[in-house]
Amino acid sequence: MPESPALHIEKLRFQYSPRDPVVIDIDSLDVAAGEQVLLTGTSGRGKSTLLYLVAGLMEPTGGRVLVNGQDIHAMSGHTRDRFRGTSIGMIFQTFNLLPGFSAAENVMLALMFSDVPRREHRDRALALLETLGVERPNAAADELSIGQQQRVAVARAIACRPALVLADEPTASLDPDNAAAAMDLIQTACTESGAALLCVSHDPAMADRFARRASLHELSASTA
């Protein structure tokens, strides 16, 4: 039996209301396990919306999203939230680390909603942060440098060893050198953890980093 793709999208449609224009209209998209895909598109075309639909944080107007073979929108709310916590990691442009919590605690927050036994949370978070080069795991997240915060955000995304990592414009606020370093980190971390990566970006410089690229415009069923 063939292995399920990390992500399978089928006839996915989304519009905010019946009177609003269609924001997402994707006939089909597959991301294989461990595969890294760059999704490009200009700002405001629904790239982030697609990620929230994949993560089950928004309801599609139609179609299906299967993560690791499971239809995320067919799940009940509680099951879907739990599934997201264990199977999907997310990285944001502004990292979204929680202030008032240390770097290690930010990673442990992700583990809190997983099946990982509590007694292992701290050791696992510290080991992951060390691997990713976070020098002060016990410092408050908002006291770390941008580069260190980025590493913590990546650690949090892969802490539960997800099948799929969704990265939403992860380098949009960085200069070219730091953007390259950040993408090295994200791609290496995903490769090493075995997670598939779906990265959305409007930055053309990203294209060379990914073997597989697609634009939201090309995927759109209405333009096919």
């Binding site: 982030s48 502004t94 979204n96 929680l98 919590f101 927050l109 809190m112 909603f113």
Partner: protein
Amino acid sequence: MSITDFTIIRRSLTSRMFSTVTTAFTVAIAVGMLLVLLAMMDAGKQAFRRGSGDMHLLVTKEPSALVSVLNGIFYAGAPAAPISYAQLQRIQSDPRVAMAIPNQQGDSYAGLPVLATTAAFFADFAPTPGEPWRFAAGRTFEQPFEVVLGAKAADITGLRLGDTLELSHGRAGTETHTHNEFHYTVVGILESTGSPHDRTVFADLVGAWTVHAHDRRVRNDPDAAHTTPGGITDDDRKVTGVYVRAASRRGSNASAALGPLAYQLRQEGFMVAEPTKEIDKLFKIVGNINVIFIAMAAVVMVSSAVSIMVALYNSMEQRKRQIAVLRVLGASRGRVFGLVLTESAMLGLLGAIGGVLLALVGGFAVAEALRKTLGIVVTPIYPPEWIMLVVVSAVTLAALAGIVPAMMAYRISVAKSLRPAA
């Protein structure tokens, strides 16, 4: 150590320390007020029972039983109508009477009431059942023109044994003249009893009769010579009240003679009051005021719940991103709802604990103030079941107040909340 829901709640509360402290303090004040009022209600009743002591009846010529108790035991005012000497003798000679201590009010010293009575007042009457008078210094009066000071009266006046004083005719604020011709000597100072008697100057009854005999004589003859106890007539021997105890079996407070005795005295035209019953009546009246106070405290409690709601509601705007991140990490809507609701309940619990501490300190401060200013001993009583009830009510109210902000957290749009700031 792993991160738990409690860690998130604790960090949330400490990150808004000022808001947390002020909100919890509001709850603490409400809980404290409510507990102090509940504690004082019962303690106050007990305190007012002190003073009437082991008497069964207070016999006067007042217009109402309650007024006679307020005047005769709590020194609220001077009794207006006197009891004649013949009537006093009649009461004292009744075989059903075990104790009949005459007293006379109407004079004052330095704003304090004067109770003229006999030495039996200290020997036979106990101001609180089972707690007889005790002298801090000196003795009871043995001669006319000797006085004994209540503990508070001694504090207020600064008088000591051997000091002399002159009494004024009329109660505090309505003194007509001072009996300069008669000098009284302090022969005893009482220990505190926690009753209104502590603020009283006790004078020998024969002395008081002598002074008023002199007043009578001077009214008839301005050049009348100094009056001595020998110059007293039966008409001068008036009293304003009699503390009566009916005969009872040894060791028992109940008396079968009490009912018939009271009935007969009423038939003879006396106002016969049973102090314990009158105090209960008084507390029924005051009880309505207590209900108002408790209602006020309840309103403060509800206000404090509203302040919790407002504080959490306002914090939601800042916490949208935090809640959205938790949702992304796998927290369900129900779980974030529960987090906010528990945080609200925690604020209530913190406030309730603070309130209990405030009540313990405040109750004793109020009791001390009452003891110092009014001489009334009140021991605040905090039954554990009341404390539990008030704490549980505060936490429940706080949790209810958290429903609106928790609903906000429940409905937060993750996509909108995580959108990078423009």
